[in-house]
Amino acid sequence: MSKNVSIKYALDWTTVFFYVALVFMGWISIYGASYEFDQSSIFDWNQRAGKQFVWILTAFVLGGMLLLVDYKMYNFFAYIIYAAIMLLLIVTIFIAPDIKGSRSWLVLGPISFQPAELAKMATALALSKFMSSYNYKLKNWKDLIPLALIVLLPFVLIVLQKETGSALVFAAFLLMFYREGMNGIILLLTLFAVLLFVIVIRFSIIPIQVDQGTLGIVLSMGLILLVQFVYAFFVTKHRKEASFLLLGTLGLTLISIVLNIWFKVNFDYVALFVVIASCIYWIFVELFNRFKKYWMLVLISIGSVVFCFSSDYLFDKVLEPHQQIRIKVLLNMENDLTGAGYNVNQSKIAIGSGGFWGKGFLNGTQTKLNYVPEQDTDFIFCTVGEEHGFWGSTLVLVVYWLLLMRLLRIAERQRETFNRVYAYCVASILFFHLMINVGMVLGIMPVIGIPLPFFSYGGSSLWGFTIMLFILLRLDASRLERMR
């Protein structure tokens, strides 16, 4: 009894408020999205809103129960929970029926469940436990390998279930790693790699001159040289060397353009030559001056060159055709509005037609008439955009933002590493889902089918996120218990 009272005081009610607000808004939106013109009640069990209501109630009960568990249990059972879920993922691969090519759903009578939704929570627990263990250091190579394994195992299992989108979510842990000491360069490099990939793919179809190289390679090489220049000029402040790099690059470019009058110059190779020459140059600068500052730059440059020249290959050979098309659509390379571009175009139409005030609750035409695909799951944000307009969708984004900021605050007030790491895991995963899902609906991210947390229709994702959040709330509440 006394424990219950303490939970009541120690619980972070602000987070609970945001959680309930999002779940409620999601429920209303699902009713709007699946509403047919022959009006039915929001509680109708046969309709999706009615089913979601049941999921919401059970999620509340589940959340309450998680709060009653002793906080030490989560730490204690972290690996066991992780192992159990991994086992479940493996079993799922073999026994799950094929639903639209995906083998991720466990069907138990009328209920189907996606264990992948629990894997995020389990991985977060395992990572927290490992990283809070005695004399663990992120910089230690021996410690990095198990860490990588903890993340890669569920990633691979989920890819095997043909849920590449859900698997990508595990990239979210990079944010948590960063907070826990990972070199910030890795975040920058990730961003740099995405940028190079986009440039190479986007401009690979534009030849400079027939059979003389593509704009993609030339631009990406230019970007690498720009990074070298900025590093030397602003970071190491070797302005003389930086200027020499600039002059050399311009000179070689000029020479190749002049030569092009008489010979057919392949500009791909010219660009490659310039980058390699610059690398050799930086090695000499390093060797003669003993700066010990350029090894990393040269390594990154060479890595980038390899990455760029293999991007095309990766894109064609590793990605599946439908994934290639989704990326091409996103990069405006493909304009087939009846095919791959249809979903995103319709989604933009639905949101765009909402205007400032929206069309009003249940008055959305695009979502009701099924123009938007997956309108109550992955594309649920369309309903908000169409029916509640700019102010409604902004409100939803602001509530998410408030929740994320609250979670960061909670994370930083934890005294135990386990709790803090776990809190960062939760914040990172929610953020990643939000970024990919809303970005996709707004047409600035490729189509990756992952749900909007607390919002999208479906018991698995709602339960998964609820469990993840309420474990955090329970851990957070314990900080007062400890003080007593």
Binding site: G352, G354, G355, T365, L369, S393, L397, L434, I444
Partner: protein, 612 residues
Amino acid sequence: MINDTLQNRRYVIAIIMSVVIVVYILRLFSIQIIETKYKEGAESNAFLRKTQFPPRGLIYDRNHTLLVYNKPAYDITCIMREIHDLDTLSFCRALNIDKKFFINRIAEIKDRKKNLGYSSYTPQVFMTQLDIEDIATIQQSMYKYPGFFIQNRTLRDYAFPNAAHVLGNIGEVSKRRIENDEYYKPGDYAGRDGIEYTYENTLRGVKGVEILLRDAKGRIKGKYKNGEKDILPIAGENLTLTLDIQLQILGEKLMSGKVGSIVAIEPSTGEILAMVSNPAFNPSILVGRQRSKNYIVLLNDPTKPLMNRATQAQYSPGSSFKPIQALVCQQMGGITEKTIFSCNGPESSPVKCTHHHGSPVSLLNAIEQSCNPYFWNAFRTTIEKDGYGVKNNIFRNNYDVWVDNVKSFGLGEKFTDSDIYEQSRGYIPTQKYYNKVYRSETGWRAITIRSNSIGQGEILATPLQLANAMSVIANMGYYITPHLNKSDSMKTKVHRSKVDEKYFPIVVEGMSRVFEFGTARLSKIEGIDMCGKTGTVQNSRGKDHSIFVGFAPRENPKIAIAVVVENAGFGSTYAAPVFSLLVEQYIKGKIERLELQDRVTNIVTNTNVKER
């Protein structure tokens, strides 16, 4: 210690999260507030604007007999953007068309030169004016052909096979009409001739719009906002005509086998009681899909059945002009009712007389016997009465006055305030015309234009104008613009003739005598005092035109008629009995002289005239 610096990384993470959310809000602002193309996209996606065509106004005759009504018809429309996976073969079979037609039609629709304002987003007319039988097969299986729709329309149907020229017909609107009137969209129908054209704006009503919601698969999911934004069509107004359909039917019957026309007017109101033009056709052959085929046939017929001879054909009035001449000459003081002239019969000069009668002749006898020399002398004394003057200016002035007087009978100009669409002007030659033809103001004198005295020469009049001139005489001095719409507002268009009322009785008496002792004595009806005048008009193409004009009864005239039978011969033989039978029908309500009726009906003057 290291934890302290790492703690600051929470700000980096918070900034990353915040930046992404701000970017998304900006993106929302851009697509929801700045860009308009998404709103338009949503409109064309979800709303199917279905035009609701109003029923066209019905048309009745003066006795409220229904003449024209509507029957259901169907258009097949298509939205190009929505056509997919079409089984062309089964579609063509269901519509009973061949594949070549289908391909041509689609190409025509897409051709922006032929199809102004083509858009792949809006419904285009694929086939038009189909009967219920034509679409019976496809109606059940329409769902198999996404992008194609059935549009309910109405077609005209006719209670009688008569009055085609008066009623006009309906056809697809022309390109020019679409450009000039935004009411019309390609594929709409509109009145093409006759009163369907004149009263298009009242008959057509107002189109409505039904806004339907359409889902992503093209299925209709009901009305937008329960029809709150729909616009109901407003039915066209009904129209009551001045025609007496029984008189019209008789007129058309009597004209069968002949080329010519009849116009009958109620003098006191200007209401047109019958307007016959032969060769004619059944108006229902210009309805629906057969329209264009039949239209071509009518267009190429050498007897010109599409022409409304009653208002468009122009004839020299010949002797039927003499009553007007008599009136104008009295008014101008050239003659009085007591004036006599001598007549030498066929030996008269410069104008021969075609009849044998005593001499000298009085005005009364001249009208009764249609004496050409009398009217030549009357005309000459009238326009020469003040001499010729310097450069013939006095003569020419008097001629101008004569023209004005003649024109005041409604001759020589169109009835611009009438509701009759197709009219010819007729012609009363002006001073200017003669100055030009004879190359100077002094190049012509009364004798030069002597043909005018007996309604020959350059004078031209339509049957409508001739009937109207009879109205003036029946009314003793005025006419009301002849018209077809039986509305009181049409009766206010009174036009006074320049001839004083007092000059009329003698002319009326003369015209009455035509039936007692003159050229029409064989067409007399017991109990009805009729007034009339024959005309036998020479013309360059074949036999003389047979003309008869007149009105009846003499007191309180009820009907004024002009009858023209082309290339038939004497006016008294062909046109006069037609006049007589029409009067009998209209005044007595039935024909008692069935033998005469049959005889007139069976006369064939032109073997090329076909019954349609």
